[in-house]
Subunit: 333 residues, 4 copies
């Protein structure tokens, strides 16, 4: 008998991807999935891609969740802390929301507001030493999707002294699933197709998480909504230290990471190559004109940026190989 898994917030896009991964995971048994407005519906009414999955969404009720060995929380930011507090300590929890990511209560207050819920182990296994911390934790705060893409590109370079942490400029574009499933006019297909639109320029709420995880101390971050359902492409630039080869630093940092691929020279990351996978593709160069270091990072915001990452963390928490039930390879074209 497998590990009993429940998914809270199962009606959203990250929730749907979690259901797909959990249902196909060889060691996990999907025992419950909960939602708010969609409670009472079969899963495949809410997620037609899961047609044949015989499960009805329950209400988001702590009792339902505590019967599991592992709970994924895929709730809107600010909603998971209260629920998490009601889950007994022996049940392992991975929170895909932002509630338990930030070390600094001031950052939480400034960008999210409401009570600060404290910090959990940060769920990015590829950071040095983090794999072991996650394996020893019963509570893990999954990375945000932008933070995952940017941190994987940047953290080893800052840690190695190869990039100046004080002057990091990032422009990152995301597919629309990153904006969630709530019906909003600016996310209508008619508005998005054929359009690139920046948002929250200069004040994005993920800035503190990105700085905390990557080591950047000065960060200009511009997010852009792109006309595609999934994928993040982050262009990360910084002033390099002379005499350090960024590609080499990245290759060393991820030599043993099954999901982070530093591409051979001449190939650039692009989002479609990561769709449906838990992989992140990286490539670095130094700009001929400005001498600035440019790192490109691509991943699936619902994969390595959310649900895949969460399953990878859960695998570690249960002593499973971290690749169990996850795909290195994307679905393309």
């Amino acid at each position: 008998m497998g590990i009993r898994v429940a998914v809270a917030g199962a009606s959203g896009y990250a929730g749907g991807e979690l259901l797909r991964l959990v249902a196909g995971h060889p060691e996990f048994d999907l025992v419950a999935a909960t939602a708010h407005r969609q409670a009472g519906h079969r899963v495949d009414v809410v997620h037609p891609q899961l047609t044949g999955l015989d499960l009805v969404l329950g209400g988001t009720d702590p009792a339902t969740l505590t019967d599991a060995d592992l709970v994924f929380l895929a709730l809107p930011h600010g909603e998971s802390a209260v629920l998490a507090a009601q889950i007994p300590p022996h049940v392992r929890v991975v929170d895909l929301g932002a509630d338990h990511r930030l070390a600094d209560p001031y950052d939480w207050a400034q960008y999210y507001g409401g009570p600060y819920a404290g910090q959990w182990t940060y769920g990015l296994p590829e950071l040095p030493g983090q794999r072991e911390l996650i394996a020893g934790s019963t509570r893990v705060a999954n990375t945000g999707c932008y933070a995952a893409a940017i941190t994987l590109a940047l953290a080893p370079l800052i840690a190695a002294g190869a990039a100046n942490p004080a002057d990091v400029v990032v422009v990152a574009a995301s597919g629309t699933s990153g904006a969630g499933r709530a019906a909003k006019a600016h996310l209508l297909a008619s508005e998005v197709m054929g359009d690139l639109s920046p948002y929250r320029v200069g004040t994005h709420q993920h800035v503190p998480e990105i700085k905390q995880a990557s080591g950047a101390t000065g960060l200009s971050f511009t997010p852009v909504l792109a006309p595609m359902p999934r994928g993040i492409l982050a262009t990360v630039t910084a002033v390099p230290t002379h005499g350090v080869d960024p590609q080499h630093v990245l290759a060393q940092a991820y030599a043993d990471a099954p999901f982070v691929h530093v591409l051979p020279e001449g190939r650039w990351p692009h989002t479609a190559a990561t769709l449906g996978s838990n992989s992140c593709h990286l490539q670095a160069t130094v700009d001929v004109d400005s001498g600035r270091l440019i790192v490109l990072s691509a991943l699936d915001n619902l994969g390595k940026g959310a649900a895949g990452q969460a399953v990878q963390n859960a695998n570690l928490m249960f002593g499973l190989p971290e690749t169990t039930g996850l795909s290195v390879w994307g679905v393309a074209p």
Copy 2:
């Protein structure tokens, strides 16, 4: 040690999807992949979504292929027969091309031209008795993608006498991967995005296969290129026989088929729900105004329409459960 598998024509879209499925299949060992112009390149240079797959494309050489237990041929129509003839009888072969599908040499001559290569077992396991025929074959002709979508919608209704085979009207739209990976100006993203364009209206080469497989005797088939990478949506209409419930006929026909889902009333098939899966979704109704029977069918042209179907056939040919290494669930959104 697993079943040794080779893929010929591995540089195309169906070839890439085959590589993904074979590489992730628990009983298959991918031992060779061949191509023409791309021979000599690493697989992940040609298919970046397979980054990390450590294999170099070989030339399309019979010797390479005969070292395998199973060969998938994903070559352009008209190119597989010559190669297939050089593969020893004990090596099982699934041909994804059209070369061995048609029973009638005249149809081959009219729509494809060149020498007629004879007919192999038709690789659509959901047709009555076909699963057993495939299991007993060493040579299987995989369905075409349109034929799969339309035949699954239509064949049980014609077989049950629920639809008049002489007056079938089909309009089916396909994603662009169905048109292949050759660089053609009309397939450029600039041309396709935002566009629906019919093609080969009134004379499509898949008409004989569709008639042969579905039992239709009079077929009007209009294919349309749609602005998406994958997916086929077929709208199949016919004159129904009074007193027969089409939904019931379909539900009975596919009661034991793991990949064909007759949706509950109120839900309509749509392509995105099948992306990356080997599933086909069906729904039927009778038009209020005309009394005509309308069946909607959705599948992934590279999944149930090509590579997934081919793996399903191969599973049967080797006595494996037909779902091995395949996903019922799609990747969405």
Copy 3:
């Protein structure tokens, strides 16, 4: 001084296109635009593509509209009749909604419900004699977008006895702007991109209008939502009469129509070629296998399918050349 024009329902997609066309029209002065929830906003806040258009949306108030010489009503179906009744007879009105299209109160009751508002002159100038009727009218009911595409393809063939009106099968796909601008989850970009989804299969509310306008007596109509902002592609099939050349019938019918183009043999209509224009492209053939007549029709659902059509009608109502302020040519790619 020009003709004073007001647009009611200016915050939707058809409303936005009307504003663009009216603002660029050499004989029209845009004097008022009204909306419900968006009243009080500048036009370019609601329609960023009209940045620089210096106008504030008013409330949907008859007084605002009666100050104009010409009013376009771009309101949801069922909302224009009440407003129209309050506009004085001397003000010319083009209603883009369905309220005044249907001749048969029973059809209205069955598909829309609510009080039947009576029938106005049908706004499809390319129907025989209709140009003159429109020119003599002060009230015109603009065509629906599907009805425009299908009727232009079909009406001359039925009128000429070239097609059997009793057995017409149509599958038509539309871009998402046809579904309006209200925030609905199934219209989110995440859901629509990469997806083809049929809807209201077998019971679409436009069936009575299409039959009334085209002369069809038996109609199977399946609409499909396509992943693009604009455009309709209709595949219209019918049983032909022997000895009649459908291309010739269509070419004759539209010899003097500036916006309807029967393409030369070998070219098929596709939607992108009509984007932003008031043109409809047509092509016909007879299916080799079934002998069925197939007519393809492409137009911009917001152009010839809505706002462009409305301006064409208004031009006729004011004695202007019908092409004034409209483009024959599309914006591509």
Copy 4:
């Protein structure tokens, strides 16, 4: 009788947009259009959106072009100089290629190669004093599309001392029409839809033009291919000078520019709002975390980035109002 206009390179995307604009221009008569491989075809075979335009493409022959009063050259980079040299001085020429943009032969040699053709008046009328220079010129080098978007965002800030020219970081994404109409595998719809892919990172050939036009002295420029046919969104960042309001600087610089719109606070430029227009939308802010200045710039790469810009320049060269035959408003959604 109007100004006689010829378009060379009329079969590409910029050429097609030029034909549309010239054919609709009240003062221009389109007398000739030339192409290489497509010579001999009707224009509407090559550009179906121009169906009804009665013109046959001629060969790219100086004699054809010299019969005109105005010639637009929309040829691949490096091909226009030779042709331009054969056009008599009294014929006005706007070159949409790069051949006559660069002041420094060394830059030409480094990024393009081949003989340096000399510099023409730079065709960006919104630069200070440039409108008058263009009006007095018979030879104008149209801006590149990226250069237009970035220079409009940056030049006034550098000129006003509001931004440090030595540390400019730009990430800009373009729709696929910017990559041209040649059939290349990486531009296939199957590859592009759902994908963001960076290219020529660190060494793009437009860097010298952007620096020359904007005044930047140190520039990191990362271009990204986006899944849409048209549009450029440039994110331009620089270190600001304290005490200068960037929005105010931009607003002043473009107070009299009909096509450049500095948006009111709270609105961000996005590409779809500029489709089909000659407008550029701008907005600026200072990043809360890094203090870096961020300017967003959106335009249609075939409009203000190519054909629209070229017509605007030609209008000035002939003493016409610069807005003649151009639209401030975009086609959306």
